[in-house]
Amino acid sequence: MTQLDTPTIPIRPVSPEPAADGDDVGLYEIRRKIYPRAITGRFRNWRVAIVIATQVVYYGLPWLWWNDRQAVLFDLAARKFYIFGIVFWPQDVIYLSVLLILCAFSLFLFTAVAGRLWCGFACPQTVYTEIFLWIERKIEGDRQARMKVDAAPASPAKVARKSAKHMLWIVLALWTGYTFVGYFTPIGDLGERALALNLVGWETFWILFYAFATYGNAGWMREQVCKYMCPYARFQSVMFDKDTLIIAYDAGRGEPRGSRSKKIDPKAAGMGDCVDCNICVQVCPTGIDIREGLQYECIGCTACIDGCDQVMDRFGYPRGLIRYASTTSLAQGMTRRQIWRRVLRPRTLVYSALLLIIAAAAGVSLALKSPLKVDVARDRGALAREASPGVIENVYRVQIMNMAEIPRQFRITAEGLPGIGVVGLVQPVKVDAASAKLIPLRLQVAQGAAAPGLHKVELLIEAVDDPAIVRRENTTFILPRP
């Protein structure tokens, strides 16, 4: 095996400067509109499948029902998140942090294994650009036709096509915005009120805002979001290493490139396998030439792989002149198996282990999540008072949170001092489904039951229907000097 440090193809991990072609003037970049050419192939099928899957989930999820309510509802008004059988309260914010940590580690892991999989397949920016491009293609045609339309002077036909495209884009964007708000406020009700033009101001605002962002990002901004706005695009290089699978052009095999007849033997003619057809450039949604090496603009969408494979097929050359390959594999000419073995390396194993541990811990914690939470606080007023001769009373404020989606009854008792008892409370206490109840609680103890001072006592809150649902809360009882 040769040493790892000798790259045989010019792969640059990241290039902060824009390529020096005539369009770039220092700091200012004049954007040349990109007309990605449609492509078919195995990776494209994957991408379409993922676009459909993510959007079925996104548009469909708010319409699912569970326990007579929306299955997934982030009810901001009530500060409760419903996700199928689980209700999250503000106290459960730790799970949100855990979720974000899991997302971050997944991103690290996927990026270390195969580069920008997220960007190329799952990022909403890519997904909506794909959908918007699909509409654009249906109405204006493929790359050549669109370029012709744009170059042509204004005509009724052109205006009609452009308006139709924008109308469809806007309708889709509005539906997307409506769905987005439907995650935060019951979607059916929202739809009825939208039709009756009876939305609350903030609902209207967020629907329009999200629709505008979708329309702007997927219709107009497109690759510029990835190139100039996305922080991930800039720091992804630190997650790459020499064994990361990236989309690479095999320069050793392709060069010297050149157009040729199908009949000639490239080896005899002293040519590489690249026929210089520029398909890889035409299909690229960010408008780069992958043959110049890995660039930070590359979102890993694999369109160039599909494009190049088609051309290789046509010429009868083996596929994979552009392919998923690691820097090491290109340098050493590794087999597929060797490449896959390198996927299991310390970095990915550590990420996977951390992911598994955190996910398992979160899963266990969720499974053991008690459907009852209790907050006990001493009343801020009097510390202790004599309720009747020789009887000392302390007052508390107890909040009983019934996290379950059925109404429950709870019995409250106290322990820790001889003869301690709960008085003046109608037991059991009824608490509605998924709601909280604040009750004033009075505890009484006879004056001589213990020495004057501060005593630890324990409150026991127990569900009547299920003794397993029980909380023990520590608090204090003050016995004053007689």
Binding site: D23, V25, L27, Y28, E29, I30, R31, R32, K33, L76, A77, R79, P90, V93, L96, D150, F184, T185, V200, G201, W202, E203, F205, W206, W220, M221, Q224, Y228, M229, P231
Partner: protein, 103 residues
């Protein structure tokens, strides 16, 4: 329109880019701040000048988001402003007397 061609004025481009540098990072930070702040603070617990806000939670969330966004934009704008050199060296040097060694 964002469709550009060779004759687009670079200055407009630069202005657009600078606006993006101010608005966009502030938006991302505002989203994070909103999430962090309102996951621990109930909007109905907020008091302004000693009096509770008489608005729905959603209205306060929305206002809060724009508040965070505005603060973020102010910070980005200031960063962008300070990032620029305090004076243009070439232009300033051109005004110096011809025997000044800095020229």
């Amino acid at each position: 329109m964002i469709v550009e061609d060779e004759v687009t004025m670079p200055n407009r481009e630069l202005t657009a880019r600078r606006l993006m540098w101010i608005v966009w990072p502030a938006f991302v930070v505002a989203a994070a701040a909103e999430l962090a702040f309102f996951s621990v603070v109930d909007p109905l617990d907020l008091h302004v000048f000693g009096a509770p806000l008489e608005m729905s939670r959603q209205a306060i969330y929305t206002l809060g988001f724009f508040g965070f966004w505005a603060v973020g934009m102010a910070s980005s704008a200031l960063t962008l402003f300070l990032e620029q050199p305090a004076h243009d060296d070439d232009a300033a040097d051109a005004e110096l007397p011809s025997d000044n060694p800095r020229r």
